[in-house]
């Protein structure tokens, strides 16, 4: 033991400060675009947190991200991401940090100039995707991060998060739901031929890295939009609500086969 520690300390002492995880960019270091995005996302999360607490009688909250906007990471550059790993931090790419090819790709789906595409992107990502990530966080908060990773498939987590987001938005902010849905109709029409028949848990699991490629997020967004449409159909067919979907999340913890 002493030998190992002595070796470790002596080699460490040589100046090996080489780490696998980095400190995130502090909020003060963000530029104006990043701060604006962070604030927009944070506002959505605060509103969601307040509604979640009210609906659950104070049993559930979104956790530390609500109290600490620096946990909203918007400073990733050249990578197109929308990610919540359950580590009390979310990652959303801002328009200005996308590469030119990524901006052009987004604009091409809607056949609009970059200026209009930028406005659409900001609304879709800082409003709708922010709500989706709050939905993911709700799944983690209600079911527990470790339990979710051990029992739930990523496809199901995304599906349940989108159900929460659709119900939240239709109850609290119908305009943003309608806007996201109209964007999603375009995205779905662009990629139905490519991924229409692949919208399955198995395909998602086997192709996650390709679908969520930070160079081209098309696949992830297509699946998100399919989840949105399915969630809306479910909401109408079963008359579901934010509260009902929250109870479904809680009920998963009691099921023998939780991956449904």
């Amino acid at each position: 033991m002493r030998l190992r520690l002595a070796i470790a300390l002596s080699v460490t002492g040589l100046g090996c400060d080489l780490v696998l995880t980095l400190d995130p960019e502090p909020y003060e270091a963000l530029d104006d675009h990043e701060r604006a995005a962070s604030e927009a996302i944070h506002t959505r999360w605060v509103q969601w947190d307040s509604y979640l607490a009210a609906v659950s009688g104070g049993a559930h909250h979104l956790g530390p991200i609500v109290g600490d906007p620096s946990r909203i990471d918007v400073s990733v550059e050249d990578s197109w991401v929308a990610l919540n790993l359950g580590d009390g931090r979310i990652h959303v790419s801002v328009w200005e940090n996308l590469g030119p090819a990524q901006q052009q790709l987004w604009a091409s789906w809607f056949d609009e100039p970059l200026e209009a595409a930028a406005v659409r992107y900001r609304t879709f990502f800082y409003e709708w995707v922010a709500l989706h990530l709050a939905g993911v966080e709700t799944v983690f908060r209600v079911q527990g991060v470790e339990w979710v990773y051990s029992h739930r498939h990523t496809f199901r987590i995304e599906r349940d998060a989108e159900r929460m987001a659709v119900n939240y938005a239709t109850e609290r902010n119908r305009a943003i739901f309608d806007y996201a849905r109209s964007c999603c109709q375009v995205i779905r029409s662009r990629f139905d031929a490519r991924w229409g028949s692949a919208f399955t848990m198995e395909y998602y699991g086997e192709h996650l890295r390709e679908l969520a490629d930070p160079g081209d997020l098309s696949g992830y967004l297509y699946f998100l939009c399919r989840h949105l449409e399915d969630a809306e159909a479910r909401r109408i067919e079963y008359g579901s609500s934010f509260r009902a979907e929250l109870e479904v999340l809680e009920a998963y913890l009691t099921l023998d086969d939780a991956d449904r």
Binding site: V19, L20, T21, V76, D87, R89, V145, Y149
Partner: protein, 200 residues
Amino acid sequence: MKNVLRRRSRPFRKAAVLAVPTLLLLPAAAGGAETAAVSLGFGWFSPLVDPDVSEGYGGSATLFVRFADWLGARAAIDVARHDLEGSFDDIPYPYTNGDIVFGPAFEVTRPGSPVALRLFTETGAYWSSYLLGLVWTWGIDFGSTLLWRMTDYLGLELGLRYHLYNLGPVGARELLCPRTLRPLGVVDRLDLVLAVGMTI
């Protein structure tokens, strides 16, 4: 950290208590230096400074081929596992990593002596598997082994190696920090491995 070391060292110690007396019962070495040997080991693998990745343990398989009294070559495959800590504490995916490396080895002790000290350096492909996927990078290592030739065909080897990896990409994927999604710089690892060596 103390608890982790204590917990992980228990099976290691038990194995050593069983293995060493067994080896001592075998006939003594005749003094010949092996031309080729394989060794299989288990030990402590650790990123040296990291707030989110714990010390770990792993295994190692090494082939040594001798070209001259003082010169040989090594090829090694290593696998290690580290739990995630800090903000990743709840996420039950470990950080696993390893390497496939080869390079020259220099024997600095007298040929055929009961104890052989070798210095070596290696290079090869290093893999890292974690939350964000499987990533291959290029790396180097250097270190030394202390071999106790217990018989003509069996020895006990203690190896210490220092690795630097993520020196360059192997394939399209980059090694990203799971906390910030930023590309990582050079990563290091220290291994201390006890191995059983067999002459072939």
